[in-house]
């Protein structure tokens, strides 16, 4: 059974068709890319999966459960994490707090425990703290634990955002243009990082990316969309030589 299965998904914004009749099935452990020109509907796709939009038509199932219509935080609690194209960390909180607050799906205590400082509160706060430090150590971020994100270089902020997404122990990670705005050295690091987390954390990754080096090295399978509909599907090599893809990116030569 596929981990994530999207069937005939359509999303209309008024008269605009952002995604039309999109289907995909991600198997457990895959690393799949989603590419397409600007405005093709890639981020809309992610917003649909993570629950920000309710699809006009079609269905999304995750681990066999239909997730269309669930709230974003409920979908996250099921194990779908994502990062954003523009980094969205909480800038007034330290890196450590950023990770801790993301554990809301699994706090283990209620508001009453927090106000009364019960044993359950103390125990769970400690657990959340240790687990957050573990994830930071795993990604070599532990020494920045008490920094606030704006004091970190851009590449590290990306890494913190990925760490925050991993901290909810997802089985599916959606990366929305992880290489956007990074220089070439950072991009190489990012490729290594993604390969590492894919292996070590045993998760399925679905990524949107514009930089061809990244998708070509990482992804085993690519899906190309334009104007909301799938135009190609296959291995990176097949995609590179697909005439439809070249047309979508470079334009038609018959004017």
């Amino acid at each position: 059974m596929a981990l994530l299965e999207i069937k005939e998904l359509t999303q209309l914004f008024g008269g605009l068709c952002a995604v039309s009749d999109f289907s995909v099935a991600l198997e457990s452990g895959e690393l799949v890319g989603l590419i397409g020109p600007n405005g093709a509907g890639k981020t809309t796709m992610f917003n649909l999966v993570s629950g920000f939009y309710k699809p006009t038509q079609g269905s999304i199932t995750f681990k066999g459960h239909p997730i269309t219509g669930l709230k974003p935080h409920e979908i996250t609690a099921l194990g779908v994490a994502r990062t954003f194209q523009n980094i969205r960390l909480w800038n007034d909180m330290t890196v450590l707090e950023n990770i801790c607050v993301s554990q809301h799906y699994n706090m283990g205590y209620s508001i009453v425990d927090a106000l009364l400082r019960t044993k359950r509160y103390l125990k769970n706060e400690k657990r959340i703290y240790t687990e957050a430090m573990e994830i930071l150590e795993a990604l070599d971020l532990a020494r920045y634990a008490h920094e606030v994100p704006p004091n970190l270089p851009y590449g590290l902020q990306r890494k913190v955002e990925i760490a925050r997404a991993l901290s909810i122990k997802p089985s599916l990670l959606l990366l929305d243009e992880p290489a956007a705005g990074l220089n070439s050295a950072d991009v190489q690091d990012l490729i290594k990082l993604i390969q590492r987390i894919h292996k070590e954390f045993d998760i399925t990754i679905w990524m949107i990316e514009h930089q061809m080096t990244v998708v070509m090295t990482l992804c085993s399978r690519l899906k190309v969309i334009d104007f909301g509909s799938t135009i190609a599907d296959g291995t990176p090599d097949e995609i590179q030589n697909n005439p439809d893809v070249i047309k979508a990116y470079l334009g038609d030569d018959t004017i």
Binding site: H73, W90, M93, Q103, H104, R117, R164
Partner: protein, 358 residues
């Protein structure tokens, strides 16, 4: 040692205040200033929860004060006092002493439920639009009370003094002072615990990036509901105390002016700083009392120097020009307030050795 310093200090403060007021060393005027300081601390720190920590702009805080004030006053008068609306007391007035905290809490709970009135629109609405909703909520509450003749309507409601008298007849202590101090300390302590827990930090996440909060598994609607209910519930308790201190309330005293006062205190102290809220509430109360003397002085000086005609006298109404003026000046020259979003222990790290507050 540092674990006990704050409770010890609070206990000493309470004992000193009670002793001073019992022995008559502190006159009623000074006592009333201290009482209003406590109430203002509750109001500013509870509003700070929504406006500072959660980053919303709620400007109808007085509405919840009104709900708390009316609910606890009517309950107390109905149960423990002879009144022209409710007739003879239902329970012997001696019991008022023991029921007072519960009645106060009932007012707070009623106000917390009234807080849902703005919590639910806040699920979808943010910023300026939510501010408009909160103003509307303030008007809804005050005009509802104006139109309820059974609790006095626009003429106001009284009889709370009788309850207070029967409380001090039972055991001769300044009960209202004791309850104001206890409620103030409890409020600060509750808010402190809430915002320093990982659970409560969810509201800071909402203020900084709501989309990221929702995607990182924070149930934003629930957090907003909790924050609004906690904030308005505490305001309700402040309202209940306020009503019992004055012994008379009318809907006019819970209008937009009172809400503005709360806002001034929050922004003066600094958004997201609990110690800032406490400091600004104290300063603000003192400032208001100072104006009571300063305005007649200015009046005299201006008449003496022929700047004002003899027929015109500066009245206390000028207070309501000066308070909004403080807000304007503050936003111009120090928009982050006295403390910014730092706490006292961030500014003076050495204080941490002497106390821990959690």
């Amino acid at each position: 040692m540092q674990k006990y310093s704050v409770p010890l200090l609070v206990t000493i403060l309470l004992i000193v205040l009670v002793a001073l007021s019992q022995s008559g060393a502190m006159d009623l005027y000074v006592q009333s200033i201290i009482l209003f300081m406590g109430i203002n601390i509750i109001l500013s720190s509870s509003l700070n929860l929504v406006n500072g920590y959660m980053g919303e702009f709620a400007c109808g805080h007085a509405a919840f004060m009104a709900v708390g004030a009316y609910v606890s006053s009517t309950l107390n008068v109905w149960l423990f006092a002879q009144d022209k609306f409710f007739g003879p007391p239902l329970l012997p007035p001696e019991l008022a002493l023991y029921f007072f905290p519960f009645v106060l809490l009932a007012g707070g709970i009623a106000a917390a439920f009234a807080g849902i009135l703005i919590a639910i629109p806040s699920f979808k609405t943010r910023g300026d639009y939510l501010a408009i909703i909160t103003i509307a909520a303030n008007y809804i509450v005050t005009s509802t009370i104006i139109n309820m003749d059974s609790i006095g309507g626009a003429r106001g409601f009284m009889g709370m003094k009788k309850v207070l008298f029967s409380m001090s007849d039972t055991i001769d202590l300044p009960w209202i002072l004791i309850w104001v101090v206890i409620s103030t300390v409890m409020t600060i302590w509750l808010i402190r615990r809430f915002v320093s827990s990982t659970y409560g930090k969810g509201i800071s996440a909402i203020s900084q990036d709501e989309v990221a909060a929702e995607i990182m598994s924070v149930n934003t609607n629930k957090m907003k509901l909790i924050a609004f209910m906690l904030s308005s519930g505490l305001a309700g308790i402040a309202g209940g105390l306020y009503a019992h201190i004055l012994g008379y309330i009318n809907p006019g005293s819970f209008g937009i002016l009172k809400s503005t006062e709360c806002l001034v205190m929050v922004y003066l102290g600094g958004m997201g700083s609990l110690s800032g809220s406490v400091i600004s509430a104290i300063l603000f109360t003192l400032l208001l009392e100072m104006l009571r003397f300063v305005i007649p002085w200015i009046d005299t000086i201006m008449h003496w120097s022929y700047l004002l005609p003899d027929s015109y006298h500066l009245s206390q109404v000028w207070k309501w020009v000066l308070i909004p003026l403080i807000l304007i000046l503050l936003m111009q020259f120090r928009p982050e307030g006295i403390m910014g979003n730092r706490e006292l222990s961030d500014i003076f790290p050495r204080l941490k050795k002497y106390y821990s507050f959690k």
